[in-house]
């Protein structure tokens, strides 16, 4: 079997997570573990990754596929290094999320759901992220970027390009 393997510290974290649930109910740890897996293995969940999680939890692979395809944060297809998840629900729309989405499309030359050719950026639209008072906004990795303007979007793109360049 050719599958990814968690580094020791992550594996320890995964084992610790499983202890949060009663004996025999280890399947409960699936979402927290899928988050760790996604963060570790390229930002998405390949079949191999999901099979590996199934093995760790001692459940059938199909049980993992079933769950991963239900939750919007689980990427079952590859994504760019930086995923712009822009909220488009009512309160954000009122505050100009449409213009922000259009601006990102124009600047990166991609449509919603697409990734730039260099593999750096993916644009997604998402529904309310609980930041309605700080709209328009997007999620980028672990954090929210709020009160977006075109200028801020430019700055974020630059910042991502810089980090990508220093990490390579």
């Amino acid at each position: 079997m050719n599958h990814p393997v968690f580094p020791p510290d992550k594996l320890a974290k995964v084992k610790e997570l499983i202890t949060h649930y009663p004996e025999g109910k280890q399947k409960s740890a699936i979402l927290p573990i899928l988050h760790i897996a996604q963060d570790n293995f390229g930002g998405w969940l390949s079949t191999e990754t999901m099979d590996y999680v199934a093995e760790i939890l001692n459940i059938l692979p199909v049980e993992v596929y079933e769950v991963a395809t239900f939750y919007s944060m689980c990427n079952v297809k590859p994504v760019g290094k930086y995923v712009f998840e822009v909220c488009q629900t009512g309160p954000c729309m009122i505050n100009g999320s449409e213009e922000i989405i259009q601006y990102i499309k124009d600047t990166l030359h991609i449509n919603v759901g697409e990734t730039t050719n260099d593999g750096l950026f993916t644009l997604k639209t998402v529904e309310c992220l609980g930041a309605c008072g700080y709209a328009p906004m997007m999620q980028l990795g672990k954090f929210y970027r709020e009160h977006l303007t075109k200028g801020k979007v430019d700055a974020i793109i630059e910042e991502c390009k810089k980090t990508a360049a220093t990490n390579n």
Binding site: I30, G90, I94, E127, C132
Partner: protein, 453 residues
Amino acid sequence: MGRKLLFENVQVEGIRGYDVYRREGGYRSVEKALGEMTPDQVTDEVKKSGLRGRGGAGFPTGMKWSFIAKPEGVPRHLVCNADESEPGTFKDRYLMEFLPHLLIEGLIVSSYALGSHVTYIYVRGEYSWVIDILETAIGEAKANGWLGNNILDKGFDLEIYVHRGAGAYICGEETALLESLEGKRGLPRIKPPFPAVKGVWDRPTVVNNVETLAAVVPIILIGGEEYSKIGVGKSTGTKLISACGNINKPGVYEIDMTISVEDFVYSDEYCGGIPKGKKMKACIPGGSSVPILPANLLLKTAKGEKRLMNYESLSDGGFVKGSMLGSGGFIVLDEDQCVVKHTLTLARFYHHESCGQCSPCREGTGWMEKILRNIDTGKGKMSDIDLLWDIQRRIEGNTICPLGDAAAWPVAAAIRHFRDEFEWHVLNPEESQKRNYGLAHYADPLEPAVAAV
């Protein structure tokens, strides 16, 4: 200024950390509850307080707690609902981000009352930095003896774990949340059995909102009776309102439920009025699932009375002339906003979030989105408005969980109150692509309804 029970110390520097929180009197409710009260006495205080669930439905918390089954030898669980995904709602995030120890304190006291030795906080997956804050706070609480075995030498054991969700509004519905906590798809369960009898892993479970559980702290400190005197009628205590949309000061406010909607919108203490001197056109006062109201009906009830920011007053007039306090997600639309378009974004939201188990919800939400998109883009027909009305009626009440109703109500209310705006879109397909219908008569003073003789 209204009395603050939750946010009293929110501005104190360093309150997120344990030392400052404790210095400011934190964890005294745990000392009081574990030291002087039995679990049933804690539940009694919560009953006396009149506290109603802050997650949206407003069910009395003390009563909910007293329903929990206590079969011999079966563990019970408290689960804190921090899935917060109702559009317009961002109060729980604020509370957890700035006062994590307040939530933990409330969880300890509530777990003691319910006999839960392992309590979970189910947090929406996107709030990942909030999860770190909570985990740090849990670590601090544990290091200082507030969690673990034999807390305060009183023989009570408790662990609190954060469980990270992964993006699904439906997991805020309590039975879907429990399925998700079991590691499955978030498909709501048919009730009965109720979670209080068979919840997570078939064990008796109570699910409560973040704000509800935090409110247990002041209830224990000042006593249920004192708490019940704050507010009015069955709206006791204080409520967190997250305000957004076209207002000068979006944010999270703790209000005393006696203030008027008008004061809330226009006073500088709260929303600070509408930007650029514009007029308010409409408002959804309690999160996207509750009926939208035109400005005139928001500020005054159909009887011509001032509307107040509480459960009873906001629902005065029922669904025809009123709305609901719901989750406290207060969304304001100014004169430049288009109600059709706003409703379309909500229909799309519910379509996206429907779990697909019931056909009226799965199919109906999709149809509503499609029809609303047609009307919004100038491709609608007059008959579409009646069709929309018909579809929402067929969803309401015909589904496993309340998401179906939550999807139907906003559409029903938008048509009920803003029908002329919908008709204008249909009759003016080209013009409607260039400008919005505007304020129209939606802020005009209402003729007070005359009682039928």
